[in-house]
């Protein structure tokens, strides 16, 4: 089961997002990690694929069983590893396959957004989108909007500016 098959030539390089200042803004293609729920938004993305609805290839989808599975660690790790934005997608309120886990996800989202803002990551870079399994078009539209917004904002560059420090050589304890 695949979501959409974007043309490979348009894919930005996953391992090295463009560095700020090294490319003109028009050439900047954001790298966005989208977390999807198995029961709704992943199926919406799948529907978009089978219906041949196009959306930008910048969004890389990771399927979870529920948006409630989205540990804030995943989001922080995505940013630390070079993502320019993260999108949390899930079921509409009251539609959760696991009753109220999408509400817990909403609370984590609200709390994490506050922390990210204090750390200098704009709200545009961490968004949430509701999409039922029937809303392939809506999901594609939302992804398109988010990609445009992040492209306008420019690269985040966390990995390059903050995390990329020389790693120590591993060494065993001498006995």
């Amino acid at each position: 089961m695949t979501a959409v098959a974007p043309s490979p030539s348009r894919l930005p390089d996953a391992t090295s997002p463009p560095a700020a200042g090294t490319v003109p803004d028009s050439a900047f293609e954001p790298l966005i990690i989208g977390f999807t729920c198995n029961w709704c938004s992943y199926r919406a993305a799948d529907l978009a694929g089978t219906a041949r609805i196009k959306y930008p290839p910048n969004v890389r989808l990771i399927r979870l069983m529920c948006s409630g599975r989205l540990d804030p660690t995943f989001v922080l790790k995505a940013f630390a590893a070079g993502a320019d934005a993260v999108v949390m997608t899930g079921c509409w309120p009251a539609d959760c396959h696991y009753r109220i886990q999408n509400v817990k996800a909403l609370r984590r989202y609200e709390l994490l957004t506050r922390v990210l803002e204090e750390l200098g990551i704009e709200p545009v870079r961490f968004q949430r989108v509701y999409a039922s399994a029937a809303e392939g078009q809506r999901l594609a539209n939302e992804f398109e909007r988010i990609v445009d917004e992040v492209r306008a904002l420019g690269p985040l560059g966390w990995e390059r500016d903050i995390v990329a420090l020389p790693a120590p050589e591993p060494e065993e304890v001498a006995t």
Partner: protein, 349 residues
């Protein structure tokens, strides 16, 4: 008494730290004599005179055990971290600063310019000549060199390989005695060395696991500040009473001293086993128990946590996944007018 030539060589060094870890070791009281009996102390600037040149002249790996406290704030810290790594057979990241950055790591929320401006021209500092720290200064006796601050406070293991970690701000003295006993026995060949990378002097579980307060179903309709409460239920979980207690993410090992005394855990023992990012685990725990389902209600409850990064990363920012804040502001902050005591009385703070 072990013959002097049979003794192991011991060093303790503090980089960007407050010295509390050294004091916690000295708090061993008479057990410090065991340390002095078992080890020859070759470097410990807090308790005896030492020169970096003497350290540099020692053969590589000639120090059997080095306890390194403090984070890496400037290039002197980094130089000593590399030097001690080379000279030590076992290098222990000792205390919260060395393992995860601790309070000094919160400086990673600001640029170096802002930090220096606040320290040298803050509201309580008279500095009409705008004196700033220099890394070189021509003194009559010759040029002086002073350490330069790095952009970020780093943990020891972000700079050199570390053999063991001892968490805590500071580590509890009883646990220090255990660690020194364990590593001393291993150096004597009487016990195996723990696996490289192990966390020593602490448990694997969380503070909640050691806390004897009753835990029920948590539903938090409002976060409280401890000073606003008339009384605290002595037997009930503090988080259930609305106090932001960091116990759910914090490593056990302190015997839950703070929560059992009625003060919420602040997380000084760092992340429990299996926790990648302390703040993320704690955010997850807190968000799960907020008793609201609408964005507006959720926001109102979360407003009770006025300083999220301070709450979730008080000790662990430098060692967290993001390590600090993206600093977009490079200009020094506007000087803040000092607020006189009493001026805010009556205002809802």
């Amino acid at each position: 008494m072990i013959a002097p030539d049979r003794r192991h060589r011991f060093a303790m060094y503090g980089a960007a730290s407050c010295g509390g870890c050294d004091i916690s070791v000295l708090n061993l009281h008479e057990a410090i004599l065991d340390l002095a009996d078992r080890f020859e102390i070759v470097l410990w600037p807090t308790v005896m005179d030492a020169k970096y040149d003497d350290l540099a002249a020692m053969p590589d790996r000639s120090i059997d055990l080095t306890l390194f406290s403090g984070g890496i704030r400037n290039d002197e810290n980094e130089e000593l971290a590399r030097l001690l790594r080379r000279k030590s057979a076992i290098l222990v990241a000792f205390g919260s600063c060395a393992t995860e950055g601790c309070i000094p790591g919160l400086a990673n929320l600001r640029s170096v310019d802002e930090l220096v401006a606040t320290a040298f021209e803050g509201p309580t500092t008279d500095n009409p000549d705008h004196v700033r720290p220099m890394t070189r200064w021509p003194a009559p006796e010759g040029e002086l060199h002073l350490p330069a601050m790095g952009r970020l406070v780093r943990t020891l293991d972000q700079v050199v390989a570390v053999d063991y970690r001892v968490p805590g701000c500071p580590p509890e003295t009883e646990r220090i005695a255990e660690v020194i006993g364990l590593l001393g026995a291993a150096l004597d060949g009487k016990a195996p060395l723990p696996p490289t990378g192990a966390v020593l002097g602490a448990g694997q579980s969380t503070v909640c696991d050691e806390c004897r307060r009753d835990r029920g179903i948590k539903r938090i309709a409002r976060f409280e500040r401890i000073q606003d409460l008339a009384s605290i239920d002595p037997g009930l979980c503090l988080l259930e009473q609305g106090l932001p207690c960091n116990g759910p993410a914090t490593r056990s090992g302190c015997a839950a001293k703070c929560p059992l005394a009625g003060a919420p855990c602040i997380g000084c023992y760092g992340p429990a086993d299996g926790v990648v990012d302390f703040g993320a685990r704690l955010m997850s725990a807190f968000a799960s128990v907020v008793d609201a389902s609408e964005p507006g209600q959720i926001d109102r409850i979360l407003d009770g946590l006025p300083d999220p990064v301070g709450q979730f990363y008080r000790f662990s920012l430098a060692g967290s996944l993001l390590r600090g804040a993206r600093v977009t502001r490079t200009a020094p902050p506007e000087p803040v007018e000092p607020v006189l005591a009493g001026a805010t009385q009556g205002a809802d703070s």
